[in-house]
Amino acid sequence: MTLDIAKFTDFLAGDAQADRVVPPTGFTATLTLFSAAAMAFLAVFALALSLATGRLADRWGDELARTSTIRISAPDGQMAAQTKAALAVLQTTKGVASARALDEAEQRALLEPWFGPDLPVDTLPIPQLIEVVEEGNGYDAQGLRLRLSAEVPGAVLDDHTRWRRPLVRAASRLRLLGWVSMVLIGAATAAMITLAANAALAANAQVISVLRLVGARDDYIANAFVRRFTLRALTGAGLGMVAGVIGILLLPSAEVGGGFLTGLGFQGWHWIWPFCIPVLAAGVAFAATRAAALRTLRDMP
């Protein structure tokens, strides 16, 4: 279906006379309003989920991609020397911004979730960890591995690839899930509005018959229904969107919980997106009702 802008603006401006020819009340009005509101409410959350997982995927990807870890496992007497040698290698490695060996307190903090506080790190054969921060384009991991194996035999480079990939993949899938949910919500809205429009057309068969008798074109009859359903969808989706945004605003702030769900919201220019939902709902209602109306009118004698 092609959309003529001039026709669409004429349509939005409306024809007060045409609006009167279809009886103003009916259960389809409430049904459309409620469906559009419920779907817009859900769409706000699907959108928030999608955008939040997008941010999460980017953050995880960035944070893990910019850092690496070198683990040095060596006998007690060689640990300090190998650590020093590894740091020396890193200092001359292109693409490494900085490198530092984690101190005891930091290593203890890493193990604390599993072993609890006051772990005597110095009495345990724990490897020394070196945190490597990369420059913009990163370093040649394969080359660094070769150098480390030659100069620091106890060093193992972990560039986080095996952690990063599944995490980024999972976050990307969640983002995709959010967008799929949006598409499904749109399709369900279209289906419900089509059903409501068909019911309205069937209930107004006599009105259509009279309009045809007096020379109304199919476009005129269809528009009388389409405009009404479009405005109902716009109003319903507007109400649902406002309720959804209030729900998002009432979620605990990220600083309090710090978890993923508390970051479920809109940031920056992403706040534009929820306000697009009523417009999209109106567009879906316009297309669904127009298709249903023209199909019904075509099938009518």
Binding site: Q17, R20, V21, L213, V214, G215, P301
Partner: protein, 225 residues
Amino acid sequence: MIELDNVAYSYGGGELLSEISLKLAPGSFHFLTGPSGAGKTTLLKLCYGALMPTAGEVRLFDADVRGMERDDIALVRRRVGVVHQDCQFLDHLSVSDNIALPLMVSGQDLLREDANLKELIGWVGLKSRAEALPPELSGGERQRAALARAIIMSPDVILADEPTGNVDWEMSQRLLRLLIELNRMGKTIMIATHDLALIRAAKAHVQARVLRISNRRLQLAGADL
């Protein structure tokens, strides 16, 4: 204007009309008669594109109806006023709005046409009922409202299907007088009716051709009418 050439119409496997040839010339007055179920309504519907012939050719204002799009037929209906026995209205609109409906659907400015609308409502004697809703009207009032709606666009042809079927004799005479007056204004009229008394009454005032549907075919009625 409206021309049927050797037209047949079948429905549900049976032929309802056969070998129908008819020409409605400008300004002519026709009665279409025949027993109930003979096909009078079907023939009228063929005359304004509500039904398509299964054989033969129907020409509406020089165009073959089979080649017409829906929008073309809608335009034809603005030139053909139709009055049904069970005249249907939009029950949520006032009588005045129902009569103005053809103006609305053709996009005309109702304010500009207001004077004409009021004059027409007065002409059919519904001035005091203009703001009533259709369900509040009597049978005769409904027929007059339907007639007013049929002629508000000043159509070339008026097709009336049993317009006096639901009204008393006095009201039927009143409706007939309105139709005769329209014919004198140059409108082509065709009235489908089985009311022979109405036809006889009309023939005293207007030169009308009486056609009868018999055995699916159209024939000129005899001198008894």
